[in-house]
């Protein structure tokens, strides 16, 4: 007797999942983000992070950057399904490892504690475009921009040294060189 077979397809040979970054150009209109996000949740795709803002005020275009994981087949589907949405103009997707694309995330950290520990915090953050946004005798608000995994590591490290609040954006992406997405 062969095991678990069905009239509904059974996911047997699961291909490897990879992390991809989707960049989606959409009309900046009411409900457009809900359409994009609803497509992901409705079809069971995963969203790791999301960043969205208007990038062209005259043409009324917003740019959504979504980090997701999936098998090549799922990634293909995400692209095709996104392209079908009426307010979507253009969809581009990249592997996270893609050397030709720059990915960045930003984080704001609030650190409270003794001077010495705060110094240690600043030291760790130095190489990630550290900006000190606010200072008091007992606290600091700092900003760094880095890759997701770096921010993950840093925030873990900072916890015991007085990190009491963290706020992070989703990833945004841009190609290197003179070329643009198309």
């Amino acid at each position: 007797m062969p095991k678990s077979k069905s009239a509904y397809s059974v996911p047997t040979k699961k291909e490897k999942s990879d992390t991809y970054i989707f960049v989606v150009w959409v009309d900046n209109e009411a409900g457009v983000l809900a359409r994009v996000v609803g497509l992901f949740s409705g079809r069971g795709y995963n969203i790791e992070s999301l960043a969205v803002a208007e990038v062209d005020a005259i043409k009324n275009i917003s740019r959504i950057t979504i980090v997701t994981t999936g098998t090549p087949q799922v990634i293909d589907q995400i692209k095709l399904q996104l392209s079908k949405l009426v307010p979507v103009h253009k969809v581009a997707e990249f592997k996270r490892e893609d050397k030709n694309v720059i990915f960045k995330e930003m984080a704001l950290f609030k650190i409270v504690g003794k001077k010495k520990k705060m110094e240690m915090c600043l030291n760790v953050c130095k190489k990630f475009d550290l900006v000190i946004l606010d200072e008091t005798k007992t606290s600091k608000v700092i900003q760094i921009t880095a890759l997701r995994r770096d921010i993950d590591k840093i925030s873990k490290k900072l916890k015991p040294w007085g990190l009491i609040s963290a706020s992070r954006t989703g990833a945004v992406a841009m190609t290197r060189g003179a070329k643009i997405f198309n």
Binding site: M1, K5, S6, A7, A34, R35, Q73, Q77, V86
Partner: protein, 588 residues
């Protein structure tokens, strides 16, 4: 100074510009201004249904049988939520619908006002697109775009939600602009190179099969003509999905019958054993493929579809051609004919052996059933209905369940747009309101809803609509007192524990017919069947036909859960050897 129109007037001006003749709907507080305007537009006839779901299915039947978009008009809140099933049904089966819904006035949106609901939120996943009109100046453009989105590319439902204050507000009317490209959403850019690649595959094939689907119907009657020419040119066998029936003549010798879960033995075996599979306008639905891993394991696969997201969604294909079926097949035919002029070598001889094999499978006569003199067998009833109506250009709708599969198996369709059934969503209660819509589109034609007694009770109220508009629809109920398909699965998978699948207190359908003011006919034994069916056909008015059939009959052949195409259950005898065990059960 140009004339100013109210939102309600603009709605009708758009409908007129779009050449809409019929709308299906139900009034209510938030659409009253639009209903008030109805009287000033004599070219548009409103069909008053009894429930908004009925309006949606009627519009689907209208659209599927006529090729024109169906238009639905409902009020806010419950009006909109009631139509959601029909919108989802249309989305799954790619039926063009434009649904206009009323909404509470703009300043009350978000306040939990009377009969308010987040209509665009609720319908977002079951429409191709939807709009909430917040500015009267956008109304005419949105209305025109709604029709465009619904009817272009892969068709589907759209919804326009219009708050009541927008219906009263005034502005200028903007006429339909011609051919404004919307984000390049229509896909018809296939190349001659792809056609040539396909022809190379055709020439090499020894065991080809064509698998056509609802996309051929959606592509219009020309697509069916092109498909017929293509099948004739190649001599290939062709099978069809449930939605594709009628695109190719059901009684033709090259037609293998329907494929899939309740498809014929020859169609499913051909799919399994073929070396070239040509999918034309179908989507590798899970009722078709059965077990994915063992689906047509040795074939090159070609997929012709207008929707790029259908390609490689379920089954990876070797050659994908994204385009309108009608255009692709016409181009293909032309190229084949051109090449044939060069050297007239056809590959029909290549596939002679394949046809021999198919004939062997045909010999199994998989649609066979044991007829009876004592009780009416449901298959027999469908066969008799077919024989007695086949010369009449009959339109058939169905509900969902065993009767639907028997209709698909035993009623042979020769033309497209004659067969309306809920395939993707499987909506019980689809057939009766759909028949209303079909009859509105084709007032002179015979329209039969092949129904089950359980399904038809879900939307029975629409009989009242049929009576109001003198629509002579025939509701042919195969009454077995069970939710037959549920009972069949319980018999096969759940040790005959017929949990809640028997309807203990069915209505007397004759009295019901009388109550609605239509004709009721009952048939209880095979000897009177023909005469009663004839009586139904001859009666000029709506009929409820209560056909009492054998309650224990099962629908065969069947690909049971957990089996690939080439392991079908053929009939009561075969069943003993093919018991379904283990985990497969949970996955039906």
């Amino acid at each position: 100074m140009p004339k100013l129109y109210t939102g309600a007037e603009i709605v009708f001006k758009c409908l007129e510009d779009q050449k809409v003749k019929h709308i299906f709907g139900y009034p209510g507080g938030a659409v009253l201004p639009i209903y008030d305007e109805l009287k000033n537009h004599s070219s548009i006839k409103h069909i008053l249904v009894r429930h908004e779901q009925g309006a949606g299915h009627a519009a689907e039947g209208y659209a599927r049988s006529s090729g024109k978009p169906g238009v639905v008009l409902v009020t806010s809140g419950p009006g909109a939520t009631n139509v959601v099933t029909a919108l989802t049904d249309a989305y799954m089966d790619s039926v063009p619908l434009v649904c206009i819904s009323g909404q509470v006035p703009t300043h009350l949106i978000g306040t939990d006002a009377f009969q308010e609901c987040d209509t665009t939120g609720i319908t977002r996943p079951c429409t191709k697109h939807n709009w909430l009109v917040k500015d009267i100046n956008e109304l005419s453009e949105i209305m025109h775009e709604a029709f465009k989105v619904a009817t272009t590319g892969r068709p589907g439902p759209v919804l326009v939600d219009i708050p009541k204050d927008i219906q009263f507000a005034k502005t200028k009317y903007k006429k339909l602009k011609k051919e404004k490209q919307i984000n390049g959403k229509s896909n018809n850019n296939f190349s001659q190179k792809q056609i040539d690649q396909l022809i190379d595959l055709l020439n090499k094939a020894k065991k080809p099969v064509i698998y056509s689907g609802g996309g051929v119907i959606n592509s219009g009657p020309k697509a069916s003509d092109a498909l017929r020419e293509f099948v004739e040119l190649t001599g290939f066998p062709i099978t069809s999905t449930l939605q594709g029936l009628g695109a190719y003549p059901g009684d033709d010798n090259q037609f293998l019958g329907m494929l899939g879960m309740h498809g014929t033995y020859e169609a499913n075996n051909a799919m399994h054993d073929c070396d070239l599979l040509i999918n034309i306008g179908a989507r590798f639905d899970d009722r078709i493929t059965g077990k994915i891993d063992e689906f047509s394991p040795n074939s090159k696969k070609v997929h012709i579809d207008i929707d790029p997201s259908s390609i490689n969604k379920i089954i990876k294909v070797d050659l994908a051609i994204v385009g309108d079926v009608s255009k692709v097949i016409s181009k293909l035919n032309k190229t084949i004919l051109k090449r044939k002029n060069g050297h007239s070598k056809s590959n029909k001889s290549n596939i002679a052996k394949w046809w021999e094999q198919i004939q062997k499978w045909r010999g199994k006569n998989s649609l066979n059933f044991v007829n009876s003199n004592d009780s009416i067998k449901p298959q027999h009833a469908v066969q008799r209905l077919y024989e007695l109506t086949k010369d009449k250009d009959t339109y058939v709708t169905t509900e969902v369940g065993q009767h639907q599969m028997w209709a698909a198996q035993h009623y042979k369709f020769n033309k497209p747009n004659r067969w309306m059934t809920s395939g993707g969503l499987g909506t019980m209660g689809y057939g009766l309101p759909a028949a209303v819509g079909v009859q509105i589109a084709h007032p002179e034609k015979l329209v039969v809803d092949i129904a089950g007694e359980a399904s038809v009770l879900m939307t029975m109220q629409e009989m009242s609509t049929a009576v109001q508009y003198n629509l002579p629809i025939k509701i042919f109920i195969l009454n077995n007192q069970y939710m037959g398909m549920v009972r069949q699965w319980q018999e096969l998978l759940h040790e005959k524990n017929y949990s809640e699948s028997y309807s203990e207190a069915l209505p007397d359908f004759l009295k019901m017919a009388e109550a609605y003011g239509c004709k009721g006919i009952k048939a209880e034994n095979p000897t009177e069947l023909d005469e009663k069916i004839q009586e139904m056909i001859d009666y000029n008015g709506p009929v409820i036909f209560d056909c009492h059939v054998d309650p224990n009959e099962n629908c065969f052949p069947m690909i049971p859960s957990g089996k690939p195409h080439n392991q079908m259950i053929l009939g009561p005898k075969d069943q003993e050897d093919n018991k379904i065990k283990g985990k497969g059960k949970a996955l039906v």
